[in-house]
């Protein structure tokens, strides 16, 4: 027997140890891919909610260079507000997830006046400041419990003034031995003293928060690096693609301008220049078209007329003279989800690639199949196949094995398929050929 369990569970074991419950609620809240701010809000909520650690308020600082910068402050502003919120939150059926939602809506509506106050606050982490709270905790990478904030000179007066409470706990946010921020918690409303078990749980939250910040920063850096790499490839590609026709046009124009150039040569040069300008136009068109930012909205439509129009188009028919073109279409194809124009373009792309890969006497086969809620359009060639090294790069922009290729057709195909919830599959054997399968979501005709 095989049993399936979902990650998210709404029924907590209330007798479970607090540590386990805390980890459970945090993990469940982090299940969704929310933003860094959102994930940190989850940690602050865990620190302040009754089903978590149960502190009254939690203040978050993020490290910005050598400075701790105030970011968020969660908790009631007064004991009246606390009483009201806690009454609401103790209503049966309100769980941790609902509390996070409540806090999220507060933050998104910018109604959290505490956060507004902490955002104006920043503490340097230089040598002098590293001796006073809150920078002390971050610099020493240790948690500090402050008992008498308003009279202790080691507490920065700006913090004491803001927090207006004697006892609070500073939790540095660490990951890979680096300080990424700090959380300060207190029991300003209830005045309950902070105990050792609270400190241990708060430390656990600090470690989780540190790792969330670390992975988010890493992820952002990775995305930036990918963007830069693509930009670099784009620059190199544009340089090469544009320079060659420009050099040709410039060189032959120089010849035209020389007085000793004969009429025949002038006419020839003008033809060359015209061809190169057309080539430039083609490059500019393809770049604008395939690298366009937005995709058209997908709709359900009958693919048969589009497939038919592409197959019957004069240039496909011309290529079909050189290679055998077999078309085997499913009867009564369903309606598929895609933008019809983009569908025609990507089908033509894949078909052109199949012809380009073919050797004389080769065969290209177009086939459609229905399969439950899917529709598969496959294009098979009997060409030389794709090497493993090339296959890994097939969908990378500007990768091409063709002499005059742009390397934009297949990345565009993949983008279209992604945008309509479908996918592309490639199977290839060296020396035998390749099959591209475009798999679309589909529904029976006329169904709504």
């Amino acid at each position: 027997m095989i049993e399936k369990y979902h990650f998210l569970s709404s029924d907590f074991q209330w007798e479970a140890p607090r540590e386990l419950m805390l980890l459970s609620v945090i993990s469940q809240s982090l299940f969704q891919p929310f933003s860094l701010q959102d994930n940190l809000l989850v940690i602050l909520t865990a620190l302040t909610s009754g089903s978590g650690v149960g502190f009254n308020r939690a203040m978050l600082f993020l490290r910005d260079g050598d400075r701790l910068q105030g970011e968020m402050w969660l908790g009631p502003r007064s004991s009246e507000e606390a009483g009201f919120i806690w009454e609401v939150l103790s209503t049966p059926g309100i769980g941790y997830v609902e509390i996070v939602e409540h806090n999220r809506s507060l933050i998104s509506r910018n109604q959290d006046s505490l956060s507004r106050r902490v955002r104006n606050l920043g503490f340097d982490m230089d040598e002098a400041n590293c001796r006073i709270i809150p920078a002390l905790a971050a610099c020493n990478k240790e948690m500090y419990l402050v008992r008498d904030a308003r009279s202790d000179p080691r507490v920065d007066p700006r913090l004491a003034d803001l927090i207006q409470v004697d006892e609070f706990l500073c939790i540095p946010l660490l990951a890979r031995d680096t300080v990424l921020g700090e959380i300060i918690v207190d029991n300003a409303i209830t005045g309950v003293p902070i105990g050792v078990s609270d400190i241990k749980l708060a430390g656990l939250c600090g470690l989780i928060a540190g790792n969330i910040i670390y992975t988010t920063i890493l992820h952002e850096k990775l995305l930036d690096a990918e963007k830069m790499a693509t930009m670099g490839e784009l620059a190199m590609f544009v340089t090469h693609q544009l320079r060659t026709p420009l050099v040709t046009i410039g060189g032959f124009t120089d010849q035209l301008l020389r007085p000793d150039t004969g009429e025949d040569k002038k006419a020839r040069n003008l033809l060359i220049i015209r061809d190169e300008i057309r080539r430039l136009e083609g490059i500019v068109y393809q770049m604008g078209h395939f690298l366009k930012v937005s995709m058209k909205e997908p709709v359900f439509f009958d693919p048969a007329p589009v497939i038919d129009a592409v197959v019957r188009s004069p240039d496909v028919q011309a290529k079909a003279q050189a290679y055998a073109l077999n078309v085997r279409l499913a009867e009564e194809p369903p309606e598929i989800l895609c933008d019809p124009t983009s569908f025609g373009e990507i089908f033509r792309n894949v078909l052109d690639n199949a012809f380009d890969a073919s050797v004389p006497g080769g065969e290209v086969t177009v086939r459609t199949q229905k399969d439950k809620n899917r529709f598969v359009l496959s294009v098979r060639d009997t060409g030389g196949g794709i090497s493993n090294a090339d296959r890994k790069q097939l969908f990378r922009p500007f990768f091409t094995t063709k002499e005059k290729g742009m390397g934009l057709g297949l990345p565009f195909t993949k983008r279209v398929m992604d945008s309509c919830g479908g996918r592309v599959e490639v199977k290839s054997r060296l020396g035998k050929g390749t099959v591209f399968r475009l798999i679309f979501q589909s529904r029976e005709r006329g169904q709504r």
């Binding site: 090469h240 320079r243 060659t244 050099v247 032959f252 124009t253 010849q255 060359i272 190169e276 002499e403």
Partner: protein
């Protein structure tokens, strides 16, 4: 007359270089890929080689490596549309790197510098 072997896959560009360099008094043999270049080298004597980098089949760097194995004495000019490779040309044992330009003055100057008129 000094003999130049020109390796360039773009046929119209080949024609341009061929005409312009012939006008300068050089005997130019133009080929469109690395294999044809190696064949030409095996059967004829050349004073200079000008090669593109990105070509179908073997690229210009592979061609240079192969030539260096046989004929270290022939000067080589890399003529490419890629500006970004320019810093690397010494490691490829080429004598000069010229970015393709519609003005052939720099190329002509470099040829003169390496093999004279």
């Amino acid at each position: 007359m000094k003999k130049i072997l020109l390796v360039e896959d773009e046929k119209t560009l080949c024609l341009l270089y061929e005409e312009e360099l012939s006008k300068e008094g050089y005997d130019v043999t133009a080929v469109n890929d690395a294999d044809a270049a190696l064949e030409a080298l095996a059967s004829g004597n050349f004073d200079l080689i000008i090669t593109d980098i990105r070509m179908p089949g073997k690229n210009g760097i592979e061609l240079i490596t192969q030539i260096m194995g046989q004929r270290k004495d022939i000067p080589i000019i890399i003529n490419s549309a890629y500006q970004s490779y320019k810093e690397d040309f010494m490691t490829w044992a080429a004598d000069a790197y010229i970015v393709k330009s519609s003005s052939l003055d720099e190329l002509k100057r470099k040829i003169k510098e390496l093999i004279g008129d």
